[in-house]
C-alpha cells in the first residue's frame, strides 16, 4: 500500500482515541465541583505562577539537537553508498565527523550541554 496508508493510520489513531474518550463520556456521570479543577500539587494550593518564564538552558538542547540532527540527515545518503565508493567515502566521513565532533566539543566546553 502506498502513502495513502499514512492517512488510514492517522484516521485509525484518531478514531480509536475519539471512540475511547467518547465512550467514557457516555458511560460516565460526572458531577461538577470546583475542587476537581484544581491542579494537583500534593494536595495543597499552588503557590505562585505555574507558567513561568523558563530557564533558557532548556532550549539550548533543542538548538544543539537541531544542528546535529541535520548533520545526521546528510549522513544517510552517504551511508547507503559508502560501500560502493570505498575509501574515498571513508576519508570524507572522517573529515565530516571530525568537524562535527569539534562542534560538539565546542558546545561541551561552553557548557551548553549542562543541565540547568
Amino acid at each position: 500500500m502506498g502513502p495513502a496508508s499514512l492517512l488510514v493510520l492517522i484516521m485509525a489513531a484518531v478514531a480509536f482515541s475519539t471512540a475511547g474518550i467518547l465512550l467514557s463520556k457516555v458511560v460516565l456521570k460526572a458531577s461538577k465541583n470546583p475542587v476537581k479543577g484544581e491542579p494537583y500539587e500534593c494536595g495543597v494550593p499552588t503557590i505562585g505562577q505555574n507558567w513561568v518564564q523558563f530557564n533558557v538552558g532548556y532550549y539550548l538542547f533543542a538548538l544543539i539537537f537541531l544542528i546535529f540532527d541535520v548533520e545526521l540527515i546528510f549522513l544517510y545518503p552517504w551511508a547507503v553508498s559508502v560501500q560502493r565508493l570505498g575509501m574515498f567515502a571513508f576519508t570524507e566521513a572522517v573529515i565530516f565527523l571530525f568537524i562535527l565532533f569539534m562542534g560538539f566539543l565546542y558546545a561541551h566546553k561552553k557548557g551548553a550541554l549542562k543541565w540547568m
Binding site: 500500500m1 502506498g2 502513502p3 495513502a4 496508508s5 499514512l6 488510514v8 493510520l9 492517522i10 484516521m11 485509525a12 489513531a13 484518531v14 478514531a15 480509536f16 482515541s17 475511547g20 474518550i21 465512550l23 467514557s24 458511560v27 460516565l28 470546583p34 476537581k36 479543577g37 484544581e38 491542579p39 494537583y40 500539587e41 500534593c42 499552588t46 505555574n50 507558567w51 523558563f54 532548556y58 538542547f61 533543542a62 539537537f65 546535529f68 540532527d69 545526521l72 540527515i73 549522513l75 544517510y76 551511508a79 547507503v80 559508502v82 560501500q83 570505498g86 575509501m87 567515502a89 571513508f90 566521513a93 565527523l97 562535527l100 565532533f101 560538539f104 561541551h108 549542562k114 543541565w115
Partner: protein, 359 residues
C-alpha cells in the same frame, strides 16, 4: 499451503478485487488495515501491560495479578474498564485545546510508525524505500505531544516533566539515529524489506560483529530513553514529579498516554529486531541444512514477534533492576558517552564495511 500472513492478505485482496469495483476493494482494504491497527493497539496494550506486571512481579518475589481470570490474565481488561468509567478531568487553568489534543498527537505518532514495519514475510503496510529514515523522523513527533501535555496542564510537575522529556528525547534521538546508520552502511539500503533481505544468510548482529554489537547496545539504551522507560523515565519520575507530564490526565486520556507508551516500546523493539536480529528471518546457521530447514517451518510472524518480545523483555528487565538516572547524568550519558562512542563506531563500521571484514 503453510501458514503465512502474506498469503492470507493476498487471498483477501484477490477475493475483493474479483467481487467489487477496484475503488471499493481499496476502501475496504483500507478499513481492514485501520481496524487491524486499532486491534493491534488494543491487544498490544493488554498483552504488554500484563507482561510488565508479571515480569516485575517475578523479579520482586511476588505473584503479580492472579485473581481476575485464569492466572490473572484479564486484570488489564478490568483495569481498562476502570479507566473507561473514570472521569477525564481537565484542570481549571489548563489550555483546554492543547490539553485535549496532546493524547491524540501521541497516539498518531505511535500509530504512524507502524507503517513500514514488516510483521511477517511480505506483510507490511507500506514498504517505504526510506524506511529507517521515516521511522526516526516520525517517532520524534511523539515528543511534541508530551510537551503539549506538560505545558497545557497548568501544573508545575507536568511542566518540569515535559521540559525534561523534551531535552531527553531529542538528545537520544541522535545516538539512535547513528546506530541505525551503522546498519544502513552494512545493508546499503534504507528500506526495511531490503534490510531484512540482506540478513538472509545471517543476522547483522552476527555478521557485523564488533561495530554492530556496539551499535546494538547503544540502540537499546537510546530507545529505552526515547520511550521514557526506566531507568530513563525522568519525564514521569514518580518519586520526584509524582507523575510527570501526565499528572493531570485521568480516565481515558491517561489511558491513551499509557497505551502509546507501550505501543512505542513495541515499535522500537520491532525496529531493533528488524535491524539487528533479522526481522522475520528465521535463524540460519551456516550450512546446517537440516537445522535451517526446521527453522524455516516456523512462520515468519512468529520469528518477528519472538524477537520483538525478547527485546521488550530486556527493556522491562532494565526497568525492574535499575535506579533512575538524574537528569544531568542522563544528558551526560548521552553527550559524553553514547554520542562520541557511536560517532567513533560509525567510522569503525564504515571501515569494516569497505574492507569487507564482515561475513
Amino acid at each position: 499451503m503453510e501458514f503465512s500472513l502474506a498469503s492470507i492478505a493476498d487471498s483477501i485482496d484477490q477475493w475483493l478485487n474479483a467481487h467489487c469495483a477496484s475503488w471499493l476493494a481499496l476502501t475496504i482494504e483500507f478499513v481492514i488495515v485501520g481496524v487491524l491497527c486499532i486491534g493491534l493497539f488494543a491487544v498490544l496494550g493488554l498483552v504488554l501491560i500484563m507482561m510488565e506486571r508479571k515480569v516485575s512481579a517475578y523479579m520482586q518475589l511476588r505473584l503479580g495479578p492472579n485473581r481476575v481470570g485464569p492466572k490473572g490474565m484479564f486484570q488489564t481488561v478490568a483495569d481498562t474498564l476502570k479507566l473507561l468509567v473514570k472521569e477525564g478531568l481537565t484542570p481549571a487553568g489548563a489550555d483546554k485545546f492543547l490539553f485535549n489534543l496532546a493524547p491524540f498527537v501521541v497516539m498518531i505518532a505511535s500509530m504512524l510508525v507502524l507503517a513500514p514495519i514488516a510483521f511477517a514475510k511480505d506483510f507490511v503496510i507500506w514498504d517505504v524505500n526510506i524506511g529507517v529514515l521515516y521511522v526516526s523522523a516520525v517517532s520524534s513527533i511523539g515528543v511534541i505531544g508530551i510537551l503539549m501535555a506538560g505545558w497545557a496542564s497548568n501544573n508545575k510537575y507536568s511542566l518540569l516533566g515535559a521540559m525534561r522529556s523534551g531535552a531527553q528525547i531529542v538528545s537520544y534521538e541522535l545516538s539512535a539515529g547513528l546506530s541505525i546508520l551503522t546498519i544502513v552502511i552494512f545493508s546499503q539500503d534504507m528500506s526495511i524489506s531490503s534490510i531484512i533481505n540482506s540478513q538472509q544468510d545471517g543476522w547483522w548482529i552476527f555478521k557485523g560483529h564488533i561495530p554492530v554489537i556496539i551499535s546494538f547496545v547503544i540502540f537499546i539504551i537510546a530507545v529505552t530513553a526515547e520511550t521514557n522507560r526506566a531507568p530513563f523515565d525522568l519525564a514521569e519520575a514518580e518519586s520526584e514529579l509524582t507523575a510527570g507530564f501526565h499528572t493531570e490526565y485521568s480516565g481515558m486520556k491517561f489511558a491513551l498516554f499509557f497505551l502509546a507508551e507501550y505501543v512505542n516500546i513495541f515499535i522500537v523493539c520491532a525496529i531493533g529486531a528488524t535491524l539487528y536480529l533479522g526481522g522475520w528471518m528465521p535463524l540460519h546457521i551456516g550450512n546446517w541444512e537440516a537445522f535451517n530447514h526446521i527453522m524455516d517451518y516456523i512462520p515468519s510472524s512468529v520469528w518477528f514477534l519472538g524477537k520483538t518480545f525478547f527485546l521488550i523483555f530486556v527493556i522491562m528487565w532494565f526497568r525492574w533492576t535499575f535506579p533512575r538516572l538524574r537528569i544531568d547524568q542522563l544528558l551526560n550519558l548521552e553527550w559524553k558517552y553514547l554520542l562520541p562512542i557511536s560517532m567513533f563506531n560509525l567510522l569503525l563500521a564504515t571501515l569494516v564495511a569497505i574492507q569487507g571484514w564482515y561475513f
